[in-house]
Symmetry: C2
Subunit: 259 residues, 2 copies
DNA sequence: CTCAATTTGTTCGTATGTATG
DNA sequence: ACATACATACGAACAAATTGA
């Protein structure tokens, strides 16, 4: 079917891990339905063009992960309830963003060598005089799924240090009347976990991540809020209404709208 | 510095590949500046807690990728110009989407066993009577970066079969006056390459991908266009203006706006 | 010019992991 | 389960090129 052995040359990842990840995917996407009997070892051998033992190693991995159960003489079966992935919907508008952030469970992390300034890119305004640096980890059911690295303009921070220490910064900013936001945007790319990230998110080194950069710019074109957020890739999803600008002609009254 | 060997237990990917991907990241993010001398082998040994040979294997990989040059007696140096990644900006509005699609270089792929119907999810309207299935690969500089799997309602297709065969379907739809679009949305998640995908995109099996699902629904709540698009993860980027709905109060006059 | 220090490059031996048939 | 081949990883020793004192 597929020339897996050639793919192997390209990737250098052990074959049985590659096979396991393809099978894991089939379970998670329900190409192999929950509870269903998956193809026999012989069929899998043929499909992936690998030896019997290699398929077995792959099956072993997925058994340990609880995604497969095998039974001698009967066959191998997909798990009844595969984990729900992509539960976290990345916000695409200010209002939704603020709303979604309210329920955040986060834990502040101490940083020993905080960077003094963020490095701004094109279209991200100008640097403020000074920043505070905050790092936190976001949790769902005691499982970490995101790391926030935030540069917050110090004069904003000083207006409510306690609030900023206790609540998500965006919530605090959204509730204050004395912060003027002219631009707010978010950039998303796919990256991979470095050692520090893999440690905090408890994922493999090099595992895919979603890297979100959220920047708020005030009316003086100063970047007052620069957040680099790293999510584990299987936690998140992004939904875009392509015709949104035609629909929300009235638009929600937001503080961000004030000039 | 980092307990790489423990991370290794979790991931099972060969150590030298893990080391290589951490280093690759440092180059691409310019933590190691272009042209700069990177730490010596001895220092890297110490930082990653691995043997000399393992660091060398990692360096070899990056040398082959053109990201590092080493010179005996002098040191190892980061490449002058690391490749630009994330060049393809995923559209977040209809107008931008249509605009960006115009320059597409794509090649149709024959499909032997086309699925009769797409599987619709919640909020994706209802099935049309019948569909045609089209598959194509998108290229930049002769390098593939995206695969499109499209279900197009047959009655739409029949209105201009030649156009649909030769041009991107969205362009054709956007230019026709006789297609009413009520909803258009796009969902993005991070996935990983299965054998067929890794083959077409020439990436490793299991390498991260961006999976975009773009759905158009007409005024009868029928899903007339369902595209599953798979991009290689390092090609794409997503930029969201969180305050867009407040700005474009007037909005572009689009055909999609007609009712 | 020579010498020593630095740094990359190569090789050996050994142990374990991966993959086939 | 076995025999075989090759890949991965370690540690250590040595060779070769570069630099600067």
């Amino acid at each position: 079917m597929f020339e897996l052995s050639k793919v192997y040359d390209r990737s250098r990842v052990p074959l049985y891990i590659q096979v396991a990840s393809v099978m894991r995917r089939r379970i998670e996407t329900k190409q192999w339905h929950p509870g269903q009997k998956i193809p026999t070892l012989v069929e899998l051998e043929r499909e992936f063009q690998v030896a019997r033992v290699t398929v077995r190693q792959a099956v072993d991995i997925l058994r340990e992960e609880g995604l497969l159960r095998s039974q001698q003489g009967r066959g191998t079966f997909a798990a009844e309830k595969p984990v729900d992935r992509h539960w976290f919907k990345l916000a695409t508008t200010w209002d939704v963003l603020i709303e979604s952030i309210k329920n955040n469970v986060l834990k502040r992390i101490k940083v020993d060598n905080p960077p003094q300034f963020p490095t701004l890119r094109e279209g991200e305004g100008e640097l403020a005089d000074s920043y505070v640096f905050l790092r936190s980890v976001q949790y769902k059911d005691a499982e970490p799924y995101g790391i926030v690295n935030l540069h917050l303009a110090k004069d904003i921070y000083k207006r409510a240090p306690d609030a900023f220490r206790q609540h998500p910064a965006l919530t605090v900013i959204a509730e204050r009347k004395d912060v003027d936001i002219q631009h707010a945007h978010q950039t998303v790319v796919i990256g991979s976990a470095d050692p520090a990230t893999s440690d905090l998110l408890q994922i493999a080194l090099g595992a895919p991540t979603a890297e979100c950069r959220c920047v708020l710019i005030d009316r003086n074109n100063v970047a007052i809020y620069i957040a680099d957020i790293i999510y584990r890739s299987d936690a998140i999803q992004l939904h875009i209404d392509l015709l949104a600008h035609l629909r929300s002609s009235s638009g929600g009254r937001t503080k961000a709208a004030r000039r």
